[in-house]
Symmetry: C2
Subunit: 370 residues, 2 copies
């Protein structure tokens, strides 16, 4: 194989597919990037068997062929090459020479034959969504997937398509994040659980242009995202997702409107008194036109008052501050509305149209000690 392409094109492609290279594996071939120039296109592929990414790069194929190169070494070499045309040449023993200007690297690759190609996916119905929206939706929900594997379903996100509505849900047992999106077209009903890792990697490589689209294809086992010159193919998580609608309620006893930035920086300040692993709640005392936030730890105490608009009853309620910070950070609105029922019932942060809903469970606290 012999091909010539610009360093910048090569680097862009390598950076994209590297997201699917597993960090630890017992199969050395999975730690490779496949360069496939066996047809008229140069394709880079990485595949950890759960998640596979393939991207096409522009370049000139002098001699067709395929080679698998260690992803880490290859990407470091490409990154450090001068900004000029790169020649990649292999021989029958998989010896690979990478030349750019006067710099010449020799490394040993592996046979492309041993590489696990991405499975073939039949592309029937295509769901289209803007790159910008997909990237936003992932950012606004991904933080509340579970961070361990105890419950596999919680490590993924629900993608539910109903006519022209897309609902994306994540939950970890303490909170639920929901985004409702309106799509341009209507589609057949679909409901799948996409691994959190897949979504994290996609949001890293999605350029996020509002004008550009991502096409999504869903089969019984896989989901395929197609954008620009790239496809991302992921297995789905099997099983029946949680019945979200049964967990939600629109009743409330207390409704408050509050400036998001002020609330966020106040909670952020309060958390510096809480060491990692320490489970000190932030206590919110809602009275007329004002809330007082308090935190008490062995380091010290902090309190702060914030002006609000209130409807309904006063309430004294405690939360894990991290859950509030996570949700507030990804909300774009300047002002947020909180709905609460009682100190043992979930608090909702949501907008009028329910384009986003963040449900956060309160925590018990000793009111007299605070």
């Amino acid at each position: 194989m012999k091909l010539i392409c610009s360093k910048s094109n090569l680097l862009k492609g390598v950076n994209i597919v590297s997201k699917a290279v597993p960090s630890r594996t017992t199969m050395a071939i999975l730690e490779c990037i496949l360069i496939d120039a066996s047809t008229d296109e140069i394709k880079l592929t990485a595949n950890d068997m759960e998640l596979g990414i393939e991207t096409k790069i522009e370049g000139n194929i002098v001699e067709r062929g395929i080679i698998a190169l260690d992803a880490k070494i290859f990407s470091e070499i490409v990154r450090k090459l001068p900004d000029n045309d790169v020649v990649i040449q292999t021989d029958s023993t998989f010896k690979t020479t990478i030349t750019c200007e006067k710099a010449k690297f020799n490394i040993v690759g592996k046979s492309g034959e041993d590489f696990s190609y991405l499975p073939f996916i039949e592309r029937t119905e295509k769901v289209s969504i803007s790159q910008f929206t997909l990237k936003e939706v992932i950012k606004q929900t991904i933080f509340s997937i579970a961070d361990n594997d105890n419950n596999k379903l919680m490590t993924g996100e629900l993608f539910e398509i109903n006519e022209n509505k897309l609902k994306v849900v994540s939950l970890d047992g303490h909170r639920i994040s929901i985004r409702n999106i309106e799509l341009k077209d209507s589609y057949d009903y679909k409901k799948v659980i996409v691994p959190g890792k897949t979504l994290q990697e996609i949001s890293k490589i999605l350029p996020g242009e509002a004008e550009e689209m991502v096409n999504i294809y869903i089969t019984s086992n896989h989901i395929l995202f197609e954008f620009d010159q790239t496809i991302v193919l992921s297995r789905l998580i099997e099983g029946e997702y949680f019945k979200i609608d049964q967990m939600l309620s629109s009743d409330y006893e207390t409704k408050i409107k509050i400036n998001k930035k002020i609330l966020l920086s106040c909670i952020d300040r309060a958390t510096l008194l809480v060491k990692e692993g320490d489970k000190k709640p932030i206590i919110i005392n809602v009275t007329d036109d004002m809330i007082e936030l308090k935190i008490n730890s062995f380091i010290g105490s902090m309190n702060e008052e914030i002006d609000i608009e209130k409807e309904g009853k006063d309430i004294l309620i405690g939360f894990n501050p991290k859950f509030f910070i996570d949700a507030l950070r990804v909300i774009d609105e300047e002002e947020v509305t909180l709905y609460m029922v009682n100190p043992k019932a979930p608090c909702y942060i949501k907008d009028e149209e329910e384009s986003f809903i963040y449900l956060i469970l309160p925590v018990n606290f000793n009111a007299s000690a605070n």
Copy 2:
């Protein structure tokens, strides 16, 4: 004690003195920042017994007093406060209230009486150097101090003042870095060894203005740096520094001029084939008008040619690439000159006036294997 000062002034001061707070210590009082408002000035001090930093901040003293506050917690609180006036108030039990806008923190401080004040230093002769120059000189030499305590002398830098010349030297047994500076005034002969840690911290807090000066005072045990509203006081390292002049030679058999940036990026590229801890040398083959750099590791091999101007003999010599990278990174010149004698003698990188001299010992290598 009660004082009022702007968050930005307070934060600036806290950031400066925090550099002298030890990361690990058995004496809790050393982990504190002392706020001394017992006179008409507000002074912040931190002191790890080797290195002490004191800085004055502007503010309004409502009630005089002193307090020692845990450096980590205090600086985190200050960092996260709103950008407005901060009130710090203490009572007789060292309870401290920090208030800014509607945010109010309560923490418990320690008696300022227990704090180790900086020792008194008699300021006799003052050596002046521009902030910019001192910062540059530290950057250009600090990388070649020894990174372990096996030889205490090697963890510091020689500061030698001879009339209007300042010579700064660091060495770690494999290389020597020397900077020669011309001072504006002439001074009595002085020769001291300044701890590397002191210099690292000073270079972090020095604004580095070319117009602003640092005043340096030297006693038999201490060195004091004074700039802006800050003083940095450090113990000196005791002992007789290495006889540098005996190690240097100006003889050479090969002299080459080479573009610094090209050489640096070439060596940088080569090192990606070397894993941490692996001691693969980079082989430099100097022939007429050209050098070839080669590196060979179990990952692969790399070679590259660079055009040079040469005087003298051809030479084949090997080096630890890191030593070259460290020196080349801090040299400002576009073109550097290398002087070599033979594959077992040190290589010098220096300018005509010897304002900088970098001596690097070569390493043995198996020429036939490369």
